[in-house]
Every structure is written in C-alpha cells, then in structure tokens.
C-alpha cells in the first residue's frame, strides 16, 4: 500500500513537471516545426538547436511588467488565467500513461475530462469580460459561442466509444482496444473528436477567440507578463491533454508491439498527435466565424448522431 502511494506521488510530480516543462518546450518546438514546414530554420540561435529559447521565453515572461489595467475587474482579471491552468492540470489526473501508471482511475474519468476542459472555457470568458476591452470582449464572446456549439458533439462523439467499451473509465477503454483500436471502428467519432479538440484548445484553424488579424490578441489583449504566460501555457497544456486523450480513447493508449515499453508507446502516439496539431496550424487557414458555426451545427452534430445511432444498432445486432 505504501509503495503504491509512493508510486502515485512520483506519477503526480512527474506529470506536473513533465507536462508544464513539455508545454514550455512545445512553444519552441512548434516554432521549429512551423519553420520547417515554411522552408526556414525557425529559432536556432539560443543553445543547441535553439532549444534554449524555451528557457529564455520563461525568463522573459517572468521579467516582464505584470500590469493589471486600472479599468479592469481586478479580481476576475487575476483569477482568469489561473482557471485554465488549474482545469487543464486537473484534466491530466485521469490520463492513464501505462498499466498501473496513472494518478486516478476514476470510473467516470471520461466525464471528468470533459468537465475539466469545459471549465477551461471560463478562463477565456472571464478573461475577455474582465479586461473591459472591446477586442477582449469579442474574443470571449466568440469563445463562448464556439464552446457552446462544439462541447455538444465533443461529448457525443465519445459516446460511441463508451457504448463499445461499456465503461467511462479510461483504463477500461484502453483495455477494450486490445482487439483493435477504436479509430477503426469509431472513425467518425475520431474525426469529430479531433475537430472538437482543436476547437476546445483554441488552436488554429479554430483560434477565433484570439484571431490576431482581427482582434489584436482576442481575449488576452490586456494581459502581460506571467498572466499572459499562463494563458499561453494553458493553451499548450490543452494541446498535450487533447493529444493524450485522443491517444487513450482512439489510438489504443499504451497498447503496442512488445519491443517498446507501454509508456513509450503512449508518449510516441501523443507526440505524433501534437505534431499533427502543429501541422494543422501550418497548413489550414482560419474559417470565417459563421462558417465555423455552420460546420459545427450542420455537419459535425448530425455526423455524430448518425455515428451514435449506427454504433448502437450494430451493438444491438451483435448481441441479438
């Protein structure tokens, strides 16, 4: 019993530092990858391959003046960036990295994850509202509308997986994929969940709450210093979390051929998905706002419902 407490402790701290460090490194890594795909080297001056940029960025963020605008709603303004960090970090508690290596194996892990990512929206909303700035408000408004439309089928797209594995527990879901990953049997669900995941983490092409070209910096226009850094970190944490979740739910989590340990398989799959997220940013332009909403309600939601019905029908037929 005491050993398992030690193990849990190690996993907790490993996750905390690994994930936050990973998010910091991801800032640099993303710029290198974007550079690669845009036929230029990207940041390559600080340290080996420019990797020192991650540290330099953090130092810079800490050294910046941390300014709270006098016209803002002070308490909410300060609370908003912490919300996204807390929610995203809590989301990591249910991720199963390998058999036995997880912080908590909740029997409602999937719902917990959905709840935490939904809470992260409050950060954007409150940040936009408390800034008392038109651009920030527009960003928060867009974020709210985007979340309302994309939350719905984000949850629904996972229900097919839940029906097939018969459990909300992520460990059970991974174990249910021994005979074939859910990406094959639930491809529509996978597709919809990826799209919703991008929208959830405000990544391009669905970064309308930020939309540099139209809204200055969107909801974090008024933020500076480490408060801005926390929004930034939250976004990258979101990318890692969504990648880890897609891996767990659709790509068989830690499952893989025996020549690599399970945790490496998990890391490799998540890493590939993170790279895919960055590729999306490099390749696809941002849709117009009404196009985004139309895509959500008119295409993604019906697609999810069809997927749900077909999955249910097939399961009933197999049982009969």
């Amino acid at each position: 019993m005491s050993q398992s407490i030690w193990l849990t402790g190690i996993v907790i701290f490993g996750t905390l530092f690994g994930v936050i460090g990973g998010a910091a490194v991801l800032v640099w890594f993303e710029r290198r990858l974007l550079g690669l795909w845009q036929d230029r080297p990207g940041p390559n001056r600080v340290g080996p391959f420019g990797a020192g940029l991650a540290i330099a960025d953090v130092i810079k963020l800490f050294a910046k003046e941390d300014w709270v605008p006098p016209f803002s709603d002070r308490i909410v303004f300060i609370f908003a960036p912490t919300a996204v960090m807390i929610a995203m970090l809590l989301g990591f508690t249910v991720v199963p990295y390998a058999p036995g290596i997880h912080i908590a194996d909740l029997n409602i892990a999937l719902l917990f994850f959905l709840g935490m990512t939904s809470l992260a929206v409050y950060s954007v909303l409150l940040g936009g509202l408390a800034s008392n700035n038109k651009y920030a408000l527009l960003g928060g408004l867009r974020s709210a509308a985007q979340m309302v439309s994309y939350e719905v089928f984000m949850g629904l797209s996972l229900m097919g997986v839940v029906m097939m594995s018969g459990s909300f527990s992520l460990v059970d879901i991974v174990n249910a994929q021994e005979n074939g990953w859910f990406i094959i049997s639930q491809f529509l669900g996978f597709f919809v969940f990826v799209v919703a995941g991008i929208a959830e983490s405000h990544r391009l092409p669905f970064d309308l709450p930020e939309a540099e070209h139209e809204l200055v910096a969107g909801f974090h226009t008024e933020y500076s210093g480490m408060k801005f850094g926390m929004f930034m970190l939250g976004e990258y944490l979101g990318v890692i979390l969504i990648s880890a979740m897609i891996t767990t739910i659709f790509l068989g989590g830690w499952l893989g051929p025996d020549f690599l340990p399970p945790i490496i398989w998990f890391g490799l799959k998540s890493f590939t998905l993170v790279c895919f997220f960055i590729l999306l940013r490099a390749a696809i332009p941002r849709p117009r706002y009404d196009q985004l909403m139309a895509l959500g309600w008119k295409v993604m939601l019906p697609l999810t419902l069809v997927n749900l019905m077909v999955t249910g029908a097939v399961i009933l037929m197999m049982e009969a």
Binding site: L36, W37, D39, R40, P41, L279, A282, A283, I284, V299
Partner: protein, 175 residues
C-alpha cells in the same frame, strides 16, 4: 462539402511534404546572400579616370529624390569646373530607390551592393562628401564628363571635346 474536406487534406499533405524541401532563407550574419552588381544599397560619389570628382553639383539628384535626403551646394574652381561645396546624404531618410542615380548626368552618384550601415546614433547616418567619395569610377570606368561635354573649362576650349567638331565660324564665308 466532401470536396472541401479533400482539399483541406490535400493541403495538409502538401505542407507535410515541405519537411524535405530544405530552407529558402539564408543564415544572415554567418552566410551572406549574393548581391548583384546593380543592387541598390549605400550611395557613393565616384571619380572620373583622372581622379577628379565627377559631381558637377547640378542638383538633379536632390530634385529627383522623393524623400529629400540629398543636400548639396554648388561652387566653382579656378578652371570653371563646377563641383559641390558640400554634399550631404541623410541615410536615415534614404529609401534606396535609385532615382538619384538615374537622374545623374555624369554617372557620379551610384548605388552599391552594401546595406550594412547600422548606427547606434541617428546623427551618424548623415554622410558628408568625404564619407561618400570613393577613389574609383564605380560602375562606369573610362567615362569623363568634361571630356565629352561641350562646356568650356580651363585647359579645354569649345570644340576640343571627344567627338565634338570645332564651333562654326559664323563670320567666315567658307563652307
């Protein structure tokens, strides 16, 4: 809708192919790009093959300059040659458009393939004549304005220039 998704996936694939396409950019301070001889960079004042400055202070460059960064004052030497008393280019205004070079009737003002002229003090961007003058003829070797122009100066009367016939003697009856 379906074709739109295919189009997006095709975009993704083509961007992914760029992984192997190498860099378009140059690592500047270590690796310098090739600048063509006609590159429009730092402005110089050239001299003719005899080593005398070519500028005749006609002011055409200053007139042509869209940002008014050239200032000069004409004066004459004892031979009657025109030359600038001072010639000043404010490079913090200059946009390297090359209009001055096109306007110049004597090939004096020329643009060179050099753009590395950063200064910490803005005042240092103002170049005087001694900073602008170079020793050679620049892009046009062998050209000497006074040797081909009809203007009479000390040591060269009317009609003595290259390819110039002597002036017509209007009082003579000979054809």
């Amino acid at each position: 809708m379906f074709s739109a998704i295919i189009s997006q996936l095709r975009t993704l694939w083509q961007i992914l192919l760029h992984t192997f396409s190498g860099y378009e950019t140059v690592q500047y301070p270590e690796e310098k790009p090739y600048l063509a001889p006609r590159y429009r960079g730092r402005i110089v004042l050239t001299r003719d093959p005899d080593g005398v400055e070519r500028c005749v202070a006609c002011n055409l460059c200053a007139v042509a300059c869209p940002v008014d960064c050239i200032a000069l004052q004409k004066t004459e030497d004892e031979d009657g040659r025109w030359y600038p008393e001072f010639f000043r280019i404010n490079f913090s205004r200059c946009i390297m458009c090359g209009f001055c070079e096109e306007a110049c009737p004597t090939y004096s003002i020329q643009l060179t393939p050099d753009f590395e002229m950063c200064e910490y003090d803005r005042q240092n961007m103002v170049y005087e004549k001694e900073h602008l003058l170079i020793d050679g003829p620049g892009k046009y070797p062998g050209y000497n304005f006074y040797r081909v122009a009809g203007k009479a100066i000390g040591g060269k009367a009317k009609g003595e220039a290259e390819n110039e016939s002597p002036p017509v003697d209007i009082r003579s009856l000979l054809p």
